[in-house]
């Protein structure tokens, strides 16, 4: 049994947002929808001010609150630990979205898909073929590019990152890249650990 997850190396992240663009392109995400964001946090007092970049995405929690509250069975966890949403079963009630402590879900509307990236009635061929995967009204989220994972590839955000700040792999495999990095760097932190969702995303610094 695999347990796919990701490690973010904060020392490597430069906040270029190439991952965000790579993700939007791979998943044909409509305007305003992001499966990953690189947040910035400023701290200190002028003139000694610093900024840290914090990449975020769905944490594919082992004890996923979104899956627990889903009334239609649309949210489920694959055998490899990737938390998925079945667009055919989703009713768009938003329960999963309010249950996710990480605000990592988006609702895709028909207006959003009609409007496209460049305005009403001006969908590009890229958008036309990409938007076919979405059911209007349903909730969508990062699935670690499950189609790429199934093909033995890393998620788009990982391969796009120019500094290798994102490390993806199987946490059940002791020799996987994320496990090796975590061992070398003395472990990592999970986001909002106090929520007890057991995220499969770790931050190292």
């Amino acid at each position: 049994m695999a347990r796919m997850g990701m490690v973010f190396d904060l020392k490597r992240c430069i906040g270029c947002n190439a991952c965000v663009i790579g993700c939007k392109q791979e998943n044909s995400l409509p305007d305003g929808v992001f499966f990953t964001k690189t947040l910035s946090e400023d701290y200190g007092v002028y003139p000694s001010v610093k900024r840290v970049y914090i990449p975020t995405l769905c944490n594919h929690c082992e004890d996923a609150p979104c899956e627990k509250v889903c009334p239609s069975g649309a949210t489920y966890t694959r055998d490899d630990g990737i938390v998925m949403v079945d667009g055919e079963k989703c009713i768009g009630c938003g329960s999963c979205a309010v249950a996710c402590p990480y605000d990592q879900r988006s609702q895709v509307s028909k207006a959003m898909l009609d409007r496209g990236l460049f305005g009403e009635g001006q969908l590009t061929d890229f958008e036309k073929q990409g938007y076919e995967r979405f059911t209007p009204g349903t909730v969508i989220k990062c699935d670690f590019c499950s189609n790429r994972v199934d093909a033995g590839l890393d998620p788009a955000c990982v391969v796009t990152c120019p500094t290798n700040a994102r490390i993806f792999g199987d946490f059940d495999d002791p020799d996987s890249k994320p496990n090796r990095v975590m061992r070398e760097r003395g472990g990592g932190q999970t986001p909002l650990a106090e929520k007890n969702t057991k995220p499969k995303v770790y931050y190292i610094s």
Binding site: T38, G73, I91, S205
Partner: protein
């Protein structure tokens, strides 16, 4: 900047608190009609007041589903919401409504035509209707409290407040309809007024406890309560939820006695406050910052 003084950041790429905007006015309206309907049914049933019971059934059976469908992203598939009662309060709630409405109708028919003759079958149907009504009154609170993501909601007081507001709204509607239709005897109206006064005090106590617990619980709760009592939502909170919804009815019922005008204004105030509470509790819900490395890693 530390995690404790993180800003509200909207949809920006900054670390900070973010408003939940998935459940908004349509969902709040659905919750309002569901709780109000079940509460009105129960209170009216106690007083054998059929018009109130019918109002409650229409509120829960028509008003609530209507606004749920308005909120739902894929209304045509909303029947699927009942598929996971083993884990989802939304599923349990939907099933409870599907039990409450038909059994409630049977109770109304029994009250009107007396078909059960006061026998065991009639009592059993009443019992099922009451149990389902209690679940309809509280499940929304459980659905909210069950989720740890929004600190303001993540408290056992949420279902308690749902029940308190449901009974409060139910008592207000029953008193108003009973007075307006002249369908209740004076002794019942006096009892209803006393019940409404007591429920106003109890609801106020629960509301203050909820805010106190959230403020002293987590950072997210503190942020939400600050929004409600000091910042963006303080005006509607003080004027509508506390003023119109609690204090005005308290004063009117205390001083105005059983005058229909006083009862009308007091009941309207209760409903305005109840609805405003439902909307504002959604609006003030915030997600906490995911992680703060400046604070946690000592990068100050």
């Amino acid at each position: 900047m530390s995690n404790t003084d993180a800003p509200l950041v909207g949809d920006s790429f900054k670390l900070g608190y973010r408003f939940q905007n998935f459940w908004d006015v349509p969902m709040a309206t659905a919750f309002f009609f569901g709780e109000l309907g079940a509460g009105t049914f129960l209170i009216s049933m106690y007083f054998d007041f059929v018009a109130g019971m019918i109002f409650g059934l229409i509120s829960t059976g028509v008003g609530k589903p209507l606004f749920h469908l308005t909120h739902m992203g894929v209304p045509a598939k909303s029947w699927r919401a009942m598929l996971r009662p083993d884990r989802s309060w939304i599923s349990r709630g939907l099933i409870s409504i599907m039990v409450f409405v038909p059994f409630g109708i049977l109770v109304v028919l029994d009250q009107t035509f007396g078909w059960s003759g006061g026998g065991a079958v009639g009592k059993l149907i009443q019992l099922i209707a009451v149990a389902a009504a209690l679940l309809v009154m509280t499940y929304q609170g459980f659905a909210m409290s069950h989720s740890s993501s929004i600190a303001l909601w993540n408290t056992g007081l949420m279902p308690v407040s749902s029940m308190a507001y449901a009974l409060l709204g139910g008592a207000a509607v029953t008193l108003l309809l009973g007075s307006a239709l002249n369908s209740l005897v004076d002794a019942d109206l006096v009892l209803l007024q006393k019940l409404l006064l007591a429920l106003l005090v109890v609801t106020l106590a629960i509301l203050l406890s909820l805010l106190h617990a959230a403020y002293h619980g987590t950072r997210g709760g503190q942020q939400s309560v600050t929004l409600l009592i000091k910042e963006g939502f303080s005006l509607p909170f003080y004027t509508l939820v506390l003023g119109a919804g609690i204090l005005l009815p308290l004063i009117l019922l205390w001083l105005g006695g059983s005058a229909l005008v006083s009862i009308f204004v007091a009941a309207t105030g209760v409903l305005v406050g109840f609805f405003s509470y439902r909307v504002l509790i959604f609006k003030a819900g915030v997600y906490e910052p995911q992680i703060s490395f400046a604070a946690r890693l000592g990068l100050h």
